[in-house]
């Protein structure tokens, strides 16, 4: 089976072709055309063990809110978008980003306890926009850019889910 996988890490993102093939009866892996000495097995629902040229790796996987795959390998983290043959064409290229305007998303589920700005206010980059309380800690959500609070969707006392849009800054 052949997969097109876009792997993103702190260093950036890159597309790869990963092929799980059989060569005269032996299973094998080919990445970007290179044949690898690899042995992989799913040891538990969210964990895959990979032995690559004798090196033993353990990777924990989960589906992120965005539908991407989150991968943890010890201290190292990646996110991946996998397109398998079935989904090869006609695939969605990912949600379009609203250029310029920044969506302020709730980083965790919680309760909006205080609004620090109003719609229309001018804000500096790093300035506090609102305070979300979760797990008894007050967390100030700051503006990612200098600009104007275009819309403020969150209200004081409102419960919000992770990833919910709180405000727009342009």
């Amino acid at each position: 089976m052949k997969f097109e996988i876009e792997l993103s890490s702190a260093e950036g993102k890159k597309k790869h072709i990963v092929e799980l093939a059989q060569i005269n009866g032996m299973h094998s892996v080919i990445i970007d055309g290179r044949l690898l000495d690899a042995d992989a097995i799913q040891v538990s629902p969210n964990t895959v063990s990979v032995i690559l040229g004798g090196q033993s790796f353990e990777i924990n996987l989960s589906r992120s809110a965005g539908g991407k795959l989150k991968l943890q390998c010890g201290p190292h983290e990646y996110s991946a978008e996998v397109m398998d043959p079935r989904a090869w064409r006609g695939r969605n290229l990912g949600a379009l980003e609203v250029a310029g305007r920044q969506e302020i998303l709730a980083p965790m589920p919680g309760k909006v306890v205080r609004l620090l700005v109003a719609a229309g206010d001018a804000v500096e980059s790093g300035q506090g926009l609102l305070v979300v309380e979760a797990m008894k800690m007050q967390n100030e959500i700051r503006s990612p850019k200098s600009g104007k609070v275009e819309r403020l969707l969150a209200k004081e006392g409102q419960n919000v889910n992770a990833g919910e849009v709180l405000a727009w800054v342009d």
């Binding site: 990963v18 799980l20 094998s28 799913q42 629902p45 969210n46 943890q72 996998v82 589920p109 797990m135």
Partner: protein, 505 residues
């Protein structure tokens, strides 16, 4: 001894107390809010009763409901754990009214020592050195600001009812005062139902070192030595150890005596902790008394070999302390890290949610006090503490190497945890040399993060392979192997299992 104990708490400490009861042959009764029905402490308890909605003030802070459960289930004692009502004198009073023994100090002792202000007054009387500042709550912000100016900044605002850094703010200068006051008061209100705060001179770069004391109801009061708790983030302890690298036997004795003096002055009975600030010249100042079991009590247990929760229960049952301090010989070195559901890469924002996978370390020198399990959903309504990982070793070096080893084995999928923070702390040269203070961690985090260690060659390929394998096994809603009684091995093991190209090494 008691027949049945009500555990008026949740999470890892409820589990901890429950285990002590089990070992003493005492029955256990747990309580739970609506979001805690599936929590570990409920699963492990012999009896469990619901006490209302998620919000603490409607459940874990409801004394009336706790008393109802105690009566209904026939408990003869109650253990408060830490946090929630543990330092609220109304709880021991309610217990007394219902003929239930409160496992902890008397309401009077709590009042005499519990609040920061009362504790300070007592300390002065007991000739225990204190930090300059007011000891009374201040109602008006203007008044407090006046005082702050007169004392010179930096000052620190602290909640009267405070603990664990909640409702606490350092104020660097006059302009920052107003917002700091607002935050401290509202956080205090949320956390303790009491918005009152007071003002104290702020000591730069002190160590936080605390003394564990134990007093029985027969007049014996002893010190079990110190815990070094200077590694804090936003005044919240995250790493604790014993012994401290700076405490000399002489200083240990002095601090122990001061702590015992204070406890006696307050007529204190049961377990308590006297917190001190220690400056660069090893002068120590009384900070506050915690009239309860501490989160970090396992550190003392690992070096003394004592079970502090069992001791608390025995003392509440009227037993004598089964030892003299002289007979306690601490051994080796112990260190605890607090695993929180929070994201160190994103402002330490809380990260509640479902734990999809979890691999917990075991083996020599490793103790895990946990309140979570794989498949459990961490609620957003409470403190983000998941588990405490405690290591013991013959030396500080061995202890740290065991903690590192355990942290490398520890993985949790589905939510974010602060495991990465400890990797960074435990490899920092200053930390390894023991050169720490209460601001050390915040300063470390303010510094640019050191470049992440190069991933081992092949890590990226391994990740790609894992993604492909996992995708092909799970994409089409396939049930992975280990999760259901009825299905066979995972698809990959069935028809797609990758094998070594050459079978011989």
């Amino acid at each position: 001894m008691f027949k049945k104990i009500l555990i008026a708490n949740r999470g890892e400490i409820a589990v901890r107390v429950l285990r002590a009861c089990r070992e003493l042959g005492i029955q256990t009764v747990a309580v739970y809010s609506e979001v805690d029905r599936a929590s570990l402490h409920v699963r492990l308890a012999a009896e469990a009763y619901p006490i209302g909605p998620a919000a603490s003030r409607d459940s874990y802070l409801r004394i009336d409901k706790l008393m109802d459960v105690a009566k209904k289930s026939g408990c003869d004692a109650l253990h408060p754990g830490y946090g929630f009502l543990a330092e609220n004198p109304a709880l021991p009073r309610a217990c007394a009214d219902s003929g239930v023994t409160f496992i902890g100090p008397s309401a009077e002792a709590m009042e005499a020592m519990g609040s920061k202000t009362a504790g300070k007054q007592l300390a002065r009387r007991a000739e225990v050195p204190t930090v300059p500042g007011t000891s009374e709550p201040i109602e008006k912000p203007e008044e407090a600001q006046e005082l702050a100016r007169s004392m010179d900044y930096p000052i620190v605002l602290k909640a009267i009812a405070g603990g664990g850094g909640k409702g606490m703010r350092v104020v660097p200068n006059d302009t920052a005062f107003a917002s700091a006051w607002r935050d401290a008061a509202s956080e205090a209100l949320n956390a303790f139902g009491d918005p009152r705060v007071f003002v104290e001179k702020y000591l730069p770069a002190p160590r936080h070192i605390e003394i564990q004391i134990f007093a029985d109801s027969h007049g014996r009061c002893v010190s079990l030595g110190e815990r070094e708790c200077s590694i804090q983030r936003r005044h919240q302890k995250v790493v604790e150890e014993a012994p401290s690298t700076v405490i000399t036997p002489d200083l240990r004795r002095k601090m122990g005596e001061a702590a015992v003096r204070l406890a006696r002055a307050g007529g204190y009975v049961n377990a308590g902790t006297v917190e001190f600030l220690v400056d660069a010249d090893l002068n120590f100042y009384f900070l506050e008394v915690n009239t309860r079991l501490q989160v970090e009590h396992p550190v003392t247990e690992q070096v003394t070999g004592l079970d502090l929760v069992k001791l608390q229960i025995a003392i509440a049952a009227g037993h004598r302390l089964p030892f003299a301090w002289e007979s306690i010989t601490p051994r080796g070195h112990a260190m605890e890290v607090r695993l929180y559901a929070e994201d160190p890469d994103n402002n330490f924002f809380p990260s509640p949610g479902k734990i999809l996978a979890r691999h917990a370390p075991t083996g020599p020198g490793i103790r895990l006090d946990e309140g979570v399990y794989e498949g459990w959903t961490v609620p957003m309504d409470y403190d983000p503490l998941l588990s405490k990982l405690i290591a013991w070793g013959n030396s500080r070096e061995e202890t740290i190497s065991r903690l590192r080893r355990a942290l490398n084995e520890y993985s949790i999928t589905g939510i974010r945890t602060n495991v990465g923070l400890f990797r960074r702390i435990l490899s920092d040269q200053e930390f390894l040399r023991g050169e720490i203070h209460t601001n050390w961690l915040d300063e470390l985090l303010a510094r640019p993060r050191p470049p992440a260690p190069e991933p081992h060659p092949g890590t990226e390929e391994a990740a790609l392979i894992a993604a492909a394998v996992w995708h092909s096994a799970n994409a089409n809603g396939h049930v992975p192997a280990s999760t259901d009684a009825n299905v066979g091995p995972s698809r990959w093991k069935m028809d797609g299992r990758l094998r070594q190209m050459d079978h011989m090494p």
